[in-house]
Symmetry: C2
Subunit: 691 residues, 2 copies
Amino acid sequence: MQARRTWVSLAALWCVILSQQAWAQVAAQPSLAIMPLPAHATSSTGEFILDGGFEMVFTGYTEPRLERARLRFFDTLKSSTGLRRWPDATTPRPQFVIDTRAASAPVQQLGEDESYRLEVAPTGVKLTAPNPLGVLRGLQTFLQLVHPTPGGFAVSSVVIEDKPRFPWRGLMIDTGRHFMPLEIIRQNLDAMEAVKLNILHWHVSEDQGTRIESKLYPRLTGMGSDGQFYTQDEVRGVIAYARDRGIRVMPEFEMPSHANALYVGYPELADGPGPYHLKRKFGEKWGRERKPSEDSSMDPTRESTYIFLDRFLGEMAALFPDQYLHVGGDAEDAVTEWATNAKIQQYMKDHGYKDATALQLYFTARLQKIVASHHKTMVGWDEVLQPETPKDVVIQSWRGTDSLAVAVGRGNRGILSWGYYLDLNEPASRHFSVDPLQGAIGKLPPEQQKAVLGGETAMWTEYVTPETIDGRIWPRAAAVAERLWSPQEDTNLDSMYARLDILSQYLTYRGIPYKATRELMFQRMVGTADPASLKVLAGVVEPPTGFPREGERAYTVYTPLNHLSDIIPAEADRARQFRDIATRIAAGTATPSDHQLARQWLTLWRDNDNTLQPLLPQSPLTAELTPISHNLSETAKIGLKALDALEQHHSMKATDQTDDLASLKSMGEPIAELRVRIIPGVESLVQAAHR
Amino acid sequence: MQARRTWVSLAALWCVILSQQAWAQVAAQPSLAIMPLPAHATSSTGEFILDGGFEMVFTGYTEPRLERARLRFFDTLKSSTGLRRWPDATTPRPQFVIDTRAASAPVQQLGEDESYRLEVAPTGVKLTAPNPLGVLRGLQTFLQLVHPTPGGFAVSSVVIEDKPRFPWRGLMIDTGRHFMPLEIIRQNLDAMEAVKLNILHWHVSEDQGTRIESKLYPRLTGMGSDGQFYTQDEVRGVIAYARDRGIRVMPEFEMPSHANALYVGYPELADGPGPYHLKRKFGEKWGRERKPSEDSSMDPTRESTYIFLDRFLGEMAALFPDQYLHVGGDAEDAVTEWATNAKIQQYMKDHGYKDATALQLYFTARLQKIVASHHKTMVGWDEVLQPETPKDVVIQSWRGTDSLAVAVGRGNRGILSWGYYLDLNEPASRHFSVDPLQGAIGKLPPEQQKAVLGGETAMWTEYVTPETIDGRIWPRAAAVAERLWSPQEDTNLDSMYARLDILSQYLTYRGIPYKATRELMFQRMVGTADPASLKVLAGVVEPPTGFPREGERAYTVYTPLNHLSDIIPAEADRARQFRDIATRIAAGTATPSDHQLARQWLTLWRDNDNTLQPLLPQSPLTAELTPISHNLSETAKIGLKALDALEQHHSMKATDQTDDLASLKSMGEPIAELRVRIIPGVESLVQAAHR
């Protein structure tokens, strides 16, 4: 009773109704270093000091999942503070009261309420939510707010009222191309919980492997997985683990292309004569030679294909409780192949299909009926969208918001993944700036816009292994998580990057070990030497963006991904910071400390080659860095020269400037699949130095 | 056949018989960066290049444990190189042949053969061992030898013939004072395997908790563990995990002192009236007030005590297959208490015991009979040794080699732990320099010396948590591991420290995460700030040695151990390196690079306070560092002044020198439980600067 009375009075004190416009103030609060930003927040003075003694008390509805959330909460807190819990209090202790109104659905539903209200005051904390999902969200908000203060670890007083902008906020992980052990799946579910993502899109079949055990078709994994697959018990474990974190799990079985692994054990499903082998190379679909034994497509002409799909998808529909089932639908290869396959051409002629696309439509329609017969809603990539596509099919768009607008315009619902592909190694700012309601969709009536359910960030795994994947997904996926959760007005990149850095640390406390793994990978490149100078180089280079590895090396599933280009983050923070400073210097808006920092960094980069070069011949992994380390030094020299000119207010000679820009351009070419990312900043300086 | 022929010729090539004297050459080989150093090794030119393709082939005896060792081997190799295995070779591949002659004992025996022969050549590797234990040892040797070369990751050609000096090489972990989760136990078993330790001494009962489930006495953990204990299934899991790594597991049940947790559920075992509570404080035994409810001893006068011990130890004897059972025997508290307990005094009078020590002897004799009746060999600390102690009791000495010599002289066998207590925070050099056969033992006849079975390094856990324990055990425990495995002639400290550093990296590849955990703990001390300057300070300070926390704060099991003094390694490598350099400078034997480095470091330490001070008020964890950060700066200033004088060949004024030495002395006092460990080096410089 006492606790409740306290809370009523606090609520009265803080009773502030925030308009949508007031949201801009939320983002400006430095103490709100949370990702994603909440919908509404009001800070006040004071703080709730954490020690080993505060109690967590559940009122209202409760369930074992909440108790597990409590244990997880204290585990994270132990990691982020080092505090140890006192199990037996002898004095009254401050309380963290969690009031849950009711249960959530037995199987998490799309669009279920995830809202919560979090009130933090010096005397206690109250978290209120309509159901356990909101509690999970609110606990993560609280945990991210923990920071050291002169009084100890604390959370500053604040009232947060929060709810998501979109109901579908996903991460897709491709476990087909490179298998990802359960540990990786669990780590990603932990990180997803941290940033309030609510659906794991589990891509489990590819040319390189079928990754989920089928009891009905044991050869799917027996012959088509290299022994790397998830048992059905393990799948159930993942689903339970995800549910504990308020995350749905939707599997994707890719067809009629990218399904070669199915045919190794069941060649009758394919349109060629077989036999089939697991494909171990990547990239052929982008124009290389195709081998019939590794690149066939599903045969849409045989009734036996649909009998298989009915039984197999029925088994999977029973295994995965989620309402949605993804069947891929990427048919770009299939359509090409069917159009040149004599048997299939004959079938098309006999049955009046005017082209392979028409046949694809027929295949998709059959597939949709099968999925529906198992009481699931079908999800597919853009390719499954045709005018005739049933309206309940959800379209996942990798093509863009225009394509999504077409889907929505036709009455289908859609989710956006274009702009959110993490494997393309684009900067977080790029992902953050893509809004699901942008472009053509923004011009649709609001009711139709509601058919855009949200989006999914995606990690395809040609070029990542279990060792590197977390460092490529995180923390950047949080930029997408914020885009999908937070108000549309949340567009401040500086704030986003500052919080992304803090989040990255939070994920470390949360047990996602990508920072430590990266340290390990740097160290082994240099053996027993000090990796410091390697890390200076690593801090300003980036791996290729887009699909640039296609056509370069013959990457297979066994290619060691232990080069510097595999290890580093997709985005070099230090290089970005330098570019920002250089832009200000070039524009004449820089502070003295900008100038000082630019000079310090450029000097470090100029001199780093001296320290690093002696280490490089020790190993092929470092030897390939010899020219780029040299280029970094040369780039820095050019930058220092331009900085001198700017600071001494004398103009560079035009010919020097031309030479320097030409040098920078040539040094901007990739070496060892790396690009020196301070070059654009140095270019700005050089350009500004001649005015 | 082909493989075998290759190997015969290689063996012929390398057939070198090494004398014990040739061992000094082994230690001098820089490519042999292994811990512990092998008994014999002969390097030759060339190397075995690792890629994803070499096969591991077992010949001779085989068993599932070897297959698991193979998987573990490739896991470690993946971590230390990033290479990925090719599962289907189409071309002949180089081979790693493992030839095992026969099985080892079903339960690992003390003194079982652990020898192996490892031949590494460019064309292949051969590991030969009498039984799987030698294979496990040899695989760890090979893995530690992997390093980057211009041709790729490789192991240099070498022939190693290796076997341990002592058969008993242990690590004791106290899981009573602070419970250590299974994950920690497993990590330590992994690390023990890496350095060829072969017995985990699992200290599972203390005043703070009984940590192993008893089916017969469920209240032992039900009331006496705070819910933190190992189930019997978990214990069996640990034993199996250890056996896979060639490690025995011996439990210790401490009595008649340090057993308070037993009495919470079973008060009739104690000599007081009860009721009893779990003790949550540490240190009372060192002179503080004792509470009868938390500090009682076992009642040796009641027959029911022995009935309990018979049944309980019988249950534990069945659970732990090892031949040895440790019953503690630490009776210092009990003897004091019995001597003042009226009931027990009466009993002594009635039964003719002249003093409490005589009663202790009676208790120990009964205990030994119980242990023997369950077909186990009793192990106890020094206190159990009396002239009448049965000869098969093994004495573990925390008192020293003189005490051990007494035991051996009386016909008992012994193991040394004195000099090997890791929780005392002494340098690795100290542990490394303690030889089990030193002192009085060295003067005994060789046959008696054989009764010294080896030693155990020990980690008592008053001041470590699951978060910090690994960073305090490792890598220093490896110095003891080397002392117990490698030839007695192996005494080069520089070599030991150089290899300890490399081993530390190997343990990271092996999955022991203490380096990453330490980074996490540094980061959280400074919140979102850059911890670089904190780490500069951390690099030259050390926590208290000995038992100095006694009497300072009221440490309980819940005290957060998240201060800098908890986080840092026991030994500050950088400070040690500086002291070595300063010694050379003071002696006039330094190189120019010594001088340069000393100046660089002193300048860094002088200036670090400027960067660090602004961060310190943010949190109590850093605020307490304010004076020591200042002292580091002042110490460095004094050092620079002395260095200037030495380099400019002018003598400091005697009064300045006196002042400086006085300042250094006062700054050498502990602050925030930390000592600035460059002070002795700076003292050397100051002393040398006035000659």
